[in-house]
């Protein structure tokens, strides 16, 4: 919530700044040029704004290739494997076949607009764009996810090796950097939320969850290849983790847990019979909890990326009006982007923590013993 307020506040500040700065600039061409010319310019600016909006969306949505940079008409990209299953057989090829959205391979191409915009489609017999049966291409989100996961695995196997080698010694190097976090998750998240009877069973999963989210969040801030894509700013990614939490909670639910759901104690009987109002609400809650987990992380991560992109885009929008204005705005934009990046680092940690502690609380509810 606080974060939303901050973003709002910065937007208001920015608008005030722009108003004070841009008034004379707006006024000057109005006198010098004819009305129609000015309108044309404004339309162009709007066009550019729209283009930039599209650019932002392109940056935060998935893509079949890594687009590193562009000079003039020249695109520098890293292509990725496309894996499709359609019409009874597998189709695999490199995304370089698309020649940056302008080519096709065996009738498969990237849709320019419509519901499937940006995704691989083919035309069916009626000439309607349809998605292939299965599309498990290694997109840039998947590619970055694989890379980040390998990093996480490598880092913690390394840390584990250090622990094995340095038995009963003080932590050293990377180990001492990770240890406070590991101890924090074990003691203040797992033990505190689940209770000391059961926490040991869930601690490894919670640790994996926390560090997986934390690393992906952090690496998502880096704006360069191959991290230019925020892995956790994707509902599929957060969804799988939320689903895992849901499955573990459900599988571990004891009698007390299910009694609380289907026959909630301490509630008037007419809320359960004849219309089982409370059970319905509780069962809905069962599914809402992981969905909220999924949405919270996704929304927090995508909001940060979008806000930073927006500030950067502002430079170009204002540069369209006047080069000087563009330079002027760039100072503020860069400052706000730095500020937002700092905020993002904080959010990366907080959201990883929130996801983990809520998961731990759900596990705790599932294994809690009735206390009378």
């Amino acid at each position: 919530m606080a974060r939303q307020n901050l973003v709002n506040k910065s937007v208001v500040l920015l608008i005030i700044f722009f108003l004070s700065l841009s008034m004379p600039v707006f006024a000057a061409p109005q006198h010098a040029k004819q009305e129609s010319e000015f309108e044309k310019e404004q339309k162009e600016a709007e066009q550019e704004g729209f283009e930039l909006g599209k650019l932002i969306i392109e940056h935060i949505t998935d893509s079949y290739e890594y687009h590193i940079f562009q000079i003039g008409e020249h695109h520098f990209t890293v292509s990725l494997p496309v894996i499709l299953y359609d019409q009874g057989h597998w189709v695999t090829f490199w995304s370089s076949e698309f020649h940056h959205h302008h080519g096709e391979y065996k009738g498969y191409y990237i849709a320019e607009k419509g519901n499937n915009q940006g995704k691989i489609v083919r035309k069916n017999a009626e000439g309607v764009e349809v998605r292939p049966r299965l599309d498990i291409s290694i997109t840039r989100t998947v590619g970055t996810l694989m890379l980040n996961s390998l990093m996480v695995i490598f880092i913690f196997l390394w840390v584990a090796k250090t622990y094995r080698r340095r038995k009963e010694m003080a932590p050293k190097g990377f180990q001492s950097f990770m240890e406070p976090l590991i101890v924090f998750i074990r003691d203040d998240v797992a033990k505190a939320s689940i209770g000391k009877d059961h926490y040991e069973r869930f601690t490894p999963f919670l640790l994996t969850l926390f560090f997986f989210i934390f690393f992906n969040n952090l690496l998502g801030i880096i704006p360069f290849f191959p991290w230019s894509v925020g892995v956790t700013a994707n509902t599929a990614i957060t969804g799988v983790m939320a689903l895992a939490v849901f499955i573990i909670t459900t599988v571990n639910g004891n009698k007390h847990y299910w009694t609380d759901i289907f026959n909630t104690p301490g509630v008037p009987w007419w809320l359960k019979f004849p219309i089982p109002l409370m059970p319905i609400v509780e069962v809905m809650g069962l599914f809402i909890k992981p969905i909220v987990l999924m949405i919270r992380l996704f929304a927090n991560m995508i909001a940060g990326h979008t806000a930073i992109m927006g500030f950067v885009a502002l430079i170009f929008i204002f540069a369209k009006f006047s080069v000087g204005l563009g330079y002027g705005v760039s100072v503020v934009s860069v400052m706000f982007s730095i500020f937002l990046d700092m905020l993002e680092v904080l959010v990366a940690l907080i959201q990883a923590y929130v996801f983990t502690i809520l998961s731990a609380l759900y596990f705790g509810m599932a294994v809690e013993k009735p206390h009378h």
């Binding site: 998935d62 998947v142 996810l145 695995i153 584990a160 622990y163 590991i182 074990r186 490894p204 560090f211």
Partner: protein, 164 residues
């Protein structure tokens, strides 16, 4: 909207990758890390307890040592006092003995002197008696050389005897 809807491909790969990450870390990373942490925590706890025990023991030992020292001191003092007493006694005894001995020596010396004196006196008496008799003899011899004088003397002696 396209941003919100989860893509199947990403979902598919994420499921595989996430399960792999959870499995690999859960099997090879977290057990040694958590075990290492626990072992270290236990060992630190044990060490702290051992240190506390050692400290307590040390304190106890120190107290004991102090007590022992105190006792030793007392004993030493007692021994010293007794030794002093014995020394004084020995000296006293020696002095007494010496005095007695000296007394007895002086006594016997005195006795001897007395004896010698008495012997000497007796001898002198005898000598004096002898000399006196000799002198008297000589005097008498001289005096009674003449008959008249002898007669006179006898008469005088008789007179004296009659008078008494």
């Amino acid at each position: 909207m396209s941003v919100l809807v989860p893509g199947f491909g990403v979902f598919f790969w994420m499921t595989i990758i996430f399960i792999l990450v959870v499995f690999i870390l859960g099997k090879f990373a977290w057990p040694p890390i958590l075990k290492g942490l626990k072992e270290r925590e236990d060992s630190i706890k044990e060490s702290l307890e051992a240190a506390k025990d050692a400290r307590d023991q040390m304190k106890q030992m120190q107290a004991e040592n102090e007590k022992l020292l105190q006792e030793a001191k007392e004993e030493r003092d007692a021994i010293l006092a007794e030794a002093r007493k014995i020394k004084d006694k020995i000296i006293d005894e020696a002095r007494m003995k010496a005095l007695q001995e000296a007394d007895s020596i002086v006594e016997s010396a005195r006795e001897q002197i007395n004896n010698e004196k008495r012997a000497a006196l007796i001898e002198m008496k005898n000598l004096v008696a002898d000399y006196s008799i000799q002198i008297a003899e000589k005097v008498l011899k001289e005096e009674l050389k003449e008959k008249q004088r002898q007669h006179d003397y006898v008469e005088k002696l008789i007179e004296e005897t009659n008078l008494n």
